[in-house]
Amino acid sequence: MSTILSLQNLIKTFGGLMAVAGVSFDVEDHSIVGLIGPNGAGKTTVFNLITGNYRPDSGTVIFARRGITNMPTHKIVQLGIARTFQTIRLFQEMSVLENVLSGCHCRMRAGLFASMFHTPGQRKEERLAVQRAMRELAFVGLDEQYTNLAKNLSYGNQRLLEIARALATEPSFLILDEPAGGMNTQETQDLMGLIRAIRSRGITVLLIEHDMHLVMEVCEKLVVLEYGAVIAEGGPEEIKTNPQVIKAYLGAEDD
């Protein structure tokens, strides 16, 4: 196993608040890693630093042996990191299929002129993209709903659509920000299967999740954040019994 993503001493401050205070951890290729911690611990900020939505004050992000710190988001996606959002950010007024096609965009090449005149190459690429998008929809189980508007899907299905859209970018690394948020027990159970299935396609998964059952079941490694710093790292069993983690989640007893 080799390291696919490596964060080295990332620091990000907002005004006087140090949201991420020197975070370092590695993610092994083909693994499922969970990033957990109390609310406001800086988990989503770490995601935004990886995907280029924020620029770190200092520190580096290395993906597949390439420094991606300060790279624009769309380039990072092209290199193979895809993400979903904590608050669902679908193209609400567009169809389910069009949402997934947005993921295909970065693997397509048709330029302005090919698009204007629908050249044979453009048509072929378009056909393949639709096929590819439908495959990803089938993968998450939404292919029958391809003509629906994204906003008309149920909450759980909207989360699945975000995953399908991210997968359509052909990532080798997928970042899921609270994928089970708003899902019921059955949907969460299905989601666990889906996350494993994504990994078995050769895609490394890094996720934030508050559903501890899901995290403990699915993740092979956990990284625990508190106040913008890593307080523990290890397998689920190790983390469950780690006194510092218990303290962070339940609060310290008065001595």
Partner: protein, 374 residues
């Protein structure tokens, strides 16, 4: 039953019917006993055609990409003045100035929008108003001594196509509406492509678009450049139709009018924008007898319209995709997720490698490549 507008060939058939009717219109107008054989009416239709062209070009920016631009008159003016100067000073035929005017307007758009594209919504709107005012004032004050100042530029030649001079309103009618037809076909194709979709993603959610690999800055810039290119070409048609141009023709109110054509007709909708041009340019002419009161009624109509039908008269229709045959074709379809660790979901069996779309370009590194580098 499917709605009529959702039928497969609806766009093609309705577009063909519309342009066939427009092609016959000069013949009809000149044979029903109107004063001056309908020259006035054809002249109004020419104006409508020009505004339809400008509206369609603004629609790329405002309707498709959702960028609030109220400075479209600036690009239009750049095109018209480029043609006027090249034609009167260097005697370059109008037809050759057409692409040049487009290029100058596009380059201008590239330069002025590059620094302002990070602005959003109303902030962008205010800056674009500034741009159109600057252009108008520069033209009026004759900066550089080439624009003729407030007097404008006169004696612009008529266009000549294969030795055939375009002079009468009817001839201009076919030139302008022919150009509209070409524009509609090209922009329709553009809309139904990767490019058109990308503009819509940017319009709907810029952050999500970037998060899915779309270079949002580049697409916003391209929307402005393409829209300006087309507006510049429309400026050429205008200059050669009027034979004379002055800064008054490119005032801020022209840009507002174009903005209203797009919003009122239906932002992002090609038939909507053409209808918008008919309504905003045609209707005031139709009610000329009401004299000054017509503009008041007109303003009232616009207010009511925005209250009761904010999406415009003919809002965009949804794109159609031929994906039906793909439904249920792949395993694990029909809304059911796979049981845990279902072997169906390995990459090899679920998505056979040879069937994967073979897009050229950067692919994510596969694990074998990673190992090689290790």
């Amino acid at each position: 039953m499917m709605e009529l507008t959702q039928q497969r060939y609806f766009s093609l058939v309705s577009g063909a019917v519309f342009f066939a009717f427009m092609a016959a219109l000069p013949l009809i107008l000149s044979n029903i006993g109107l004063d001056g054989d309908g020259r006035y009416h054809i002249g109004v239709l020419n104006d409508i055609g020009l505004y339809a062209l400008l509206g369609l070009s603004l629609n790329i920016i405002l309707g498709d990409a959702g960028l609030f631009s109220m400075g479209h008159g600036a690009f239009y003016a750049m095109g018209a003045y480029t043609t006027a100067m090249l034609n009167t000073k260097f005697a370059i035929p109008i037809l050759y100035t057409l692409p040049l005017a487009g290029c100058v307007a596009a380059f201008f758009a590239f330069l002025v929008t590059m620094p302002i594209l990070r602005l959003r919504g109303d902030y962008l709107l205010v800056v674009t108003i500034g741009i159109v005012e600057i252009v108008r004032i520069v033209l009026t004050n004759d900066v550089g001594g080439a624009t003729g100042g407030a007097n404008g530029i006169a004696n612009i030649a008529r266009p000549e196509i294969f030795g055939y001079r375009i002079i009468t309103p009817t001839q201009f009618f076919y030139l302008i509406w022919g150009f509209v037809a070409v524009t509609v076909v090209v922009f329709y194709a553009l809309n139904h492509s990767r490019f058109g979709r990308a503009l819509n993603y940017v319009k709907q959610d810029e952050l999500a678009a970037a998060g899915n690999g779309i270079d949002t800055y580049r697409y916003k810039l391209m929307a402005f450049v393409l829209g300006a290119f087309w507006a510049g070409m429309a400026g050429t048609l205008y200059a050669s139709k009027m034979k004379f141009i002055s800064p008054e023709a490119f005032s801020f109110s022209e840009s507002v009018l174009l903005f209203a054509i797009v919003i009122l007709g239906g932002a992002g909708s090609i038939p909507g924008v053409i209808l918008g041009a008919f309504m905003l340019i045609g209707l005031p002419e139709l009610f000329r007898e009401l004299a000054d009161a017509r503009m008041m009624f007109f303003g009232l109509a616009m207010v009511l319209m925005m209250i009761f039908r904010p999406q415009g008269f003919l809002p965009t229709r949804r794109r159609r995709y031929h994906a039906k045959q793909e439904v249920g074709k792949f395993s694990c379809a029909a809304g059911s997720l796979c049981p845990l660790d279902n072997p169906v979901f390995t990459l090899d069996s679920h998505v056979p490698e040879q069937d994967l779309p073979l897009f050229d370009g950067p692919r994510p590194l596969r694990d074998t490549e990673l190992d090689e580098k290790a």
